[in-house]
């Protein structure tokens, strides 16, 4: 692969608010529409939408609300979708612990972060106490 072809292009960039559980439903629908439009298979669409639903709920329930940025990417012949969830909530003190299967501070199953990571090709989380949380997911087709 030449250096030129590895340049990544952002073809579409939009932001949506995440305040309520209705917004979580809207996020699922928007991510579904983008992934379907990007030519993702049904299984890949389902994985990225499910991951988006998990992280969106975290943003609303634990982060006190925030926003989602959806980007459609092109990298050479590959197309991808990148989702960035950000909030200004209390943040996560121990990210390693939060990423463990079954760990939860709420009443969930503790699968949100760890499960979403398994459903995506790229996963990054940036957080510290009092500084909010930014979770970035990407899936490539």
């Amino acid at each position: 692969m030449t250096i030129l072809s590895t340049r990544m292009l952002v073809e579409l960039d939009e932001t949506m608010p995440l305040r309520t559980s209705d917004d979580v439903v809207r996020v699922r629908q928007a991510v579904r529409a983008r992934a379907a439009g990007g030519g993702f298979t049904l299984v890949d669409q389902t994985k990225i939408v499910t991951a988006a639903s998990e992280i969106a709920r975290n943003t609303v329930d634990y982060g006190g609300g925030g926003e989602l940025r959806i980007e459609m990417l092109r990298h050479g012949q590959r197309r991808g979708v990148r989702l960035t969830f950000s909030d200004q909530g209390p943040g996560i003190a121990d990210i390693e612990l939060a990423m463990k299967d079954g760990y939860t501070t709420g009443k969930g199953l503790g699968l949100g972060l760890s499960g979403s990571k398994r459903l995506c090709n790229e996963f990054a989380i940036k957080s510290s106490p009092g500084q909010g949380t930014v979770v970035t997911l990407a899936r490539w087709k």
Binding site: V25, S53, L109, G112, G115, R118
Partner: protein
């Protein structure tokens, strides 16, 4: 009351989830179903999820809870119609739904509920027959 109708067929309750549920709606359905099991003396609960495009950990937990609550109330829950893409995603997410009985469609679900109820009422029938 949730906005999702609960239909009574004989001693079974049937729910077909046709909308993309927000979390409060999922919790309301869980509460309504539990009430109806007692009020209608239901022995079986069938939940059709063939219209659901995703099952995330919250909805998965709701299905698990309904199955557990109905068991305590002497009813059996069967989830039917899960889409293949949803099944693949659920397992990868880490949610095996181990407490929930499943069937491919409504017909098979009803047959499964029938056989479980019959077995519990006549535990020796199968051996004798």
């Amino acid at each position: 009351m949730s906005e999702i109708p609960i239909l009574k067929i004989g001693d079974c309750l049937l729910v077909s989830i046709q909308v993309d549920m927000h979390d409060r709606l999922a919790m309301a359905l869980q509460d309504d179903l539990t009430q109806r099991i007692v009020a209608d003396r239901a022995r079986g609960v069938m939940i059709d999820i063939s219209a659901l495009e995703i099952v995330d950990s919250f909805i998965g937990r709701m299905l698990n809870n309904i199955a557990a609550m109905s068991r305590v109330l002497d009813a059996v829950t069967v989830v039917v119609g899960m889409r293949p893409a949803v099944a693949i995603t659920l397992v990868e997410l880490g949610l095996a739904l181990t407490g929930v009985r499943t069937a491919l469609n409504v017909d098979k679900g009803l047959a499964l509920i029938r056989s479980i109820i019959d077995d519990s009422e006549h535990p020796d029938a199968r051996r004798a027959g």
